[in-house]
């Protein structure tokens, strides 16, 4: 019983962070119907951002994440204007390949600069022992940070003017344009927010797992799964999707070999796409 509880809690804490990564992916999909295939490398850049800032200035990693978030936003806006804007109305293949080419560029430059060797942010907040369960400080903080980010995103989308613009553009771009919403700038902002979330997730992961420049790929795939679980285009659903995935990752190893986890995850992913493409919690139709 302790074993299952410990596994579930471990999974849940990670699930929050997965949720943040997936929120970024699904926000972009929801607003502009673009699957961002540069999502993984941006997560990796978030990791390296924290690693470098922490290493160079010995800044607290959580302060570093704030800086990384701003950089992530700027990077996303830049990617939008360079690679996405021109093909936003083209067939899906074009946006998939455009964002994938950004993926190649980031990975290529990243490998040249950082090499593909593993890195570690040498940072620890100790651990917290509650009865049979030992929680790592960094993971608990990361889960709280993820909740904060999700809450902030919710407030932004539902309580601010730009948030309303984003929702309007997501709903109907032409209509929003007619009502005077600067849709192109809103799309750029949305893309930036999506990459910002990815970078934050990367930064949080870097505080407890080792990583390489290629490490984002695994989290990108997880984000797909979560996005589909929560409903593509539904950022809040993504947080719940993240929790579900986290719990699954915790629970599955308690009764079968851990290496079966991805089999279950991806089968679930395909199944939900087929049976309930709007996700478990519904999404925009």
């Amino acid at each position: 019983m302790d074993f299952i509880l410990a596994s579930v809690i471990d999974g849940l804490l990670l699930g929050f962070v997965y949720g943040v990564a997936a929120m970024g992916l699904t926000l972009i999909w929801g607003v502009m119907n673009v699957i961002n295939l540069s999502h993984g490398p941006i997560i990796a850049l978030g990791m390296f951002g924290v690693y470098l800032i922490f290493g160079a200035f010995s800044l607290n990693p959580y302060v570093a994440i704030l800086i990384v978030a701003v950089l992530g936003l700027v990077l996303g806006v830049a990617i939008y204007y360079v690679a996405v804007q021109r093909v936003i109305n083209a067939p899906h293949l074009s946006t998939l390949l455009a964002t994938f080419s950004v993926n190649m560029i980031i990975i290529g430059l990243g490998t040249a600069i950082f090499s593909a060797s593993p890195r570690n942010v040498e940072f620890s907040l100790g651990s917290l022992t509650l009865g049979p369960i030992t929680l790592l400080g960094t993971r608990v903080v990361a889960a709280f940070a993820a909740m904060l980010v999700a809450g902030a995103l919710y407030l932004f989308l539902y309580r601010t003017r730009y948030g309303r613009y984003i929702r309007a553009v997501a709903n109907n771009r032409d209509a929003a344009e007619l009502m005077g919403v600067p849709s192109n700038r809103i799309l750029a902002l949305s893309f930036g927010l999506g990459t910002m979330l990815a970078a934050i997730a990367g930064g949080l992961i870097a505080t407890f797992f080792p990583f390489t420049i290629l490490a984002g790929g695994a989290y990108e795939l997880k984000s797909f799964v979560i996005g589909v679980l929560g409903g593509l285009g539904n950022p809040i659903g993504a947080l719940f999707g993240g929790l579900i995935l986290g719990v699954l990752e915790g629970i599955i190893p308690t009764f079968m070999p851990t290496t079966w986890v991805p089999v279950v995850e991806f089968l679930l992913f395909v199944l939900i796409l087929l049976v309930r493409p709007q996700g478990l919690f519904g999404a925009k139709s």
Binding site: V82, S94, I105, T259, F266
Partner: protein, 340 residues
Amino acid sequence: MSENKVAAPAKKLRFMPQLAGRPYLGLSLTLAVIVIMILWPLVTGKDITRETVFTILLSVTLASSLNILLGYTGYVSFGHVVFFGLGGYVGFYLLAIQGWSLWMAMLAGGLSSALLAYLLGRAILRLRGAYFALATIGINEAMRAFINNFKPFGGPIGMTLNFQVYRDYGGASQALWMVFYTMGALTLLAVTVSFFVRTSKFGLGLLAIREDEDAAEVMGVVAPKAKTWAYVLSAIFPGIIGVLFFFKNGSIEPAPAFRLHFSIETIVMVMLGGQGTVLGPVVGSGLYQGIRGYLLTSAIFKNIQLAVAGGLLLLIVLFVPDGVIGWLRHRFPFLRRVLQ
């Protein structure tokens, strides 16, 4: 959309080969190019040329197969490597563990990929656009994770071939040549199949689906069936050459067999040459491998070859979405007869 097309020059040539003056000119040209490639290592007499051409032929076959689904039917299969990997695995298992001959193993590899495509096709081809693309990624990853746990196929460490096997094919170095010529023959076959699909009634139905699936169905195209068969056709050759490839490699493991990046590279080759044309994937593969080879070996670019390749891809997607052959066909209408 329609404004762009008004500017397109009037086309004077007919599309259907049986009606055109010289029906198979396009095919002959394409095949001639491939035959010359196959003979090239004999001219230089170098093993390394053979290896380079082998890579290009492999790409041509994969790209031409994918083109049937991507270019003709308009479905973006991001996880197409699953057929290469699965076919490779099934064939390798039969070859290495069950002691089948290479030829039977290749056949079995092709058939198992085709069967997988048939079963999957009925289910996932209902999805459109990005959802289909995502589903293919999911299937590839699920398959990789499954094979990683599947003990008969060696699980995570895969399978290796006993070298004694090469003796049946005249020793290791003979076997390499045999593998090369087999690859060449398969490439010719795959391109020929692609041509006949493109110019057949079946192919016309696929093109109609690509342009507007619902309208095509209203006109009587049985889209679910046509799509499934297109999927099956596009899966067979990857399955066959998967066996050949891993036979040459001597071992097979889940990660290299189901490498998502490999699928995406194939899409890039199709795009580069021109999706929906027969010659496009051939030219695209040659160009892509040429560029990649150059970047990998260039003193300036070797460290950032991936970034440079990404930049080129971006330029193509943004500015030449029709690819080389597509662009030539638009720009020089008289070429449409040859560049099919």
